[in-house]
Amino acid sequence: MLFFFRRSDIPDGSQLVLNVTGDTDKVAQVCTMSVDQNPSAPLDPTQPLSLQSPHAYAVELDITALAAATVTIDVSVTASGGVRVGVPFQQEITAAANDLNTIRCDLATEN
């Protein structure tokens, strides 16, 4: 499955938080990112990502199940004052072995 998460007008210095809970020991997580179409090194999905203005971020988190697993993905963007930017995203996934699930985040910061 492929899930989309889109937020725009994100204040400078906000943080993207990707949180996967549940049977996390049975899934492998690979997170890639590009900034303004330029790919960057793979990310550690457990660490918040700081979003700077003015840029367009594309973040993809691939979750591969190595065994049957149930995980919940939470995605949120929080401004520096702790205020949520838009509504957070939550999705529970029940995956069989070898299943690939991806959350794709398209994020645009304020100009």
């Binding site: 499955m1 492929l2 899930f3 989309f4 998460f5 889109r6 937020r7 725009s8 007008d9 994100i10 996967v20 049977d23 996390t24 020991d25 049975k26 899934v27 492998a28 997580q29 690979v30 997170c31 890639t32 990112m33 590009s34 179409q37 790919p39 793979p42 990310l43 550690d44 999905p45 457990t46 367009a56 594309a58 993809e60 691939d62 591969t64 190595l66 065994a67 049957a68 930017v85 838009g86 509504v87 072995a97 070898n98 299943d99 690939l100 991806t102 794709r104 398209d106 645009a108 100009n111």
Partner: protein
């Protein structure tokens, strides 16, 4: 015929656009619409793949399971398989409650499991032996259901070399994933770019006709002309991204990413557990036990991590496949030692003429097992296996387990899916422990042979 009907017929003639329009009905957010379209595109791709596979498949029964699927079952780690569970074992009349505690400490060095086992209480055998059957039955019926309960604490070492924990962002897996799926972020971003750009342009030009709720734009947040453009562009992007996602998923399955799980499964295991068994006085003495177990295989993720790290990206998949093949043929060692302290036991029931006294007792059991697949069929499944096992028991309260050493070497040849032929030698340090053998060569050695059809040994 109205315009909607004509549009629908045209859309039907053109195929997928109608489906996309149907999927995104009800004014969803653009992200939600893209999610639905992408997943429909994935399903279409998967359906096409299944149809092609079925057309190419010769008639006949489907094979049940595969090496990969069975090894995935093996992957389920004993400590992490169940976050919290309750298992009722009807045969052994026991209920097991498991609770996996979150790993301790920042480095997550330990997996911790708490377990409670509630057994159906059974009258202590010496008590039973001293009573008439009727009286024994009466006493048995009077024992509280909580008359035999164990509490178990298990600790498993978890780091790069031990345990089966896959860290969230394992660099080895990250590289391998990239090498297998071969879909670069550039490709995916290029597909999504038209949608993102159009949306950014519309927002920058203040084309939204109302404030965007939840910072999650909907098509209806824009004027009809803009909506139409957004639908066309973003649905097209989503459909292409869905097809790429299907290709990524298929690449992972084709390259048997489950083999990665096999390598992880073969990692060393070091598990320490301690338990206390509380019994009703009619059930027997309380017990305390400590067990240490260790498992090792020569081919695991940790033993080949440096090989994988040293391999260049273009050769990574081939190297990984070679390592996986070796792992399937690798042997496995398991060693464990258990020490049990049995409390002093005393029971006086003058009405039943019972005056039982048992001193404290100690029980030691040590075992070592090595399993080595030897012969393989054309598909790489092992058809012959050599097992070397040894177990030493020394119980202070049981002559049948006093200074008892039994070792065996067994070769098992798989004859058909249903029948296997085990043949081997057994050694026992005392002749009375040499059981389950077909022929005795001496007081200590015997031949073990179990014919599949005779059912005897």
């Amino acid at each position: 015929m109205n315009r909607m009907a004509i549009a629908a017929l045209l859309a039907l003639a053109l195929g997928l656009p109608l489906r996309a329009a149907e999927i995104c009905s009800g004014d969803p957010t653009i992200a939600k619409c893209q999610t639905e379209v992408a997943n429909q595109a994935q399903m279409d791709a998967a359906e096409g793949g299944t149809k092609r596979a079925l057309q190419a498949k010769p008639t006949g029964p489907d094979s049940v399971g595969s090496v990969a699927s069975s090894s995935v079952k093996d992957f389920v780690p004993p400590l992490d398989a169940i976050i919290q569970s309750a298992n009722l074992d009807q045969k052994n009349q026991q209920l097991t409650l498991d609770f996996n505690v979150t790993s301790l400490g920042a480095p997550k060095l330990l997996a911790v499991q708490l377990q409670s086992v509630i057994r159906q209480p059974q009258l202590y055998q010496p008590v039973k032996d001293a009573l008439s059957a009727t009286r024994a039955q009466q006493l048995q019926g009077g024992i509280n259901d909580a008359g035999d309960i164990s509490a178990v604490l298990t600790l498993g070492l978890q780091n790069d070399s031990f345990g089966r924990r896959l860290r969230p962002n394992d660099p080895t897996f990250t590289r391998l994933f990239g090498a297998i799926v071969k879909v670069s972020p550039d490709e995916l971003n290029a597909l999504q770019k038209p949608c993102n750009k159009l949306l950014a342009d519309l927002l920058a030009a203040k084309h939204a006709i109302r404030p965007i709720a939840g910072n999650d734009p909907k098509f209806s947040d824009f004027a009809p002309a803009d909506q139409a453009k957004l639908r066309t562009v973003c649905i097209d992007s989503a459909r292409k991204l869905g097809a790429k996602q299907a290709a990524k998923a298929q690449a992972l399955q084709d390259d048997k990413i489950a083999d990665f799980a096999d390598l992880l499964n073969n990692q060393q295991q070091l598990v320490l557990s301690g338990s206390r068994r509380f019994k009703n006085n009619l059930v027997g003495p309380d017990e305390t036990a400590v067990q240490l177990s260790y498992e090792w295989s020569p081919d695991s993720l940790s033993s080949h991590r440096s090989d994988l790290q040293a391999t260049k990206d273009d050769a990574l998949v081939t190297t990984f496949e070679n390592i996986s093949t070796a792992a399937k043929r690798a042997g496995r060692l398991k060693a464990s030692a258990q020490y049990t302290w049995i409390d002093r036991y005393s029971l006086m029931r003058s009405a039943d003429g019972l005056d039982l006294l048992r001193p404290t007792a100690h029980r030691f059991t040590g075992s070592v097992t090595w399993g080595q697949p030897l012969l393989f069929d054309s598909e790489g499944n092992h058809s012959g296996q050599l097992d070397v096992t040894g177990q030493y028991d020394n119980f202070s309260d049981d002559p049948a387990h006093k200074d008892r050493l039994v070792a065996s070497v067994t070769y098992t040849q798989k004859l058909t899916d249903s029948f296997s032929l085990p043949i081997g030698f057994t050694y026992a340090n005392h002749s009375e422990f040499l059981t389950d053998v077909q022929t005795r060569f001496s007081a200590h050695f015997g031949l073990k042979l179990k014919l599949p059809l005779s059912g005897g040994s």
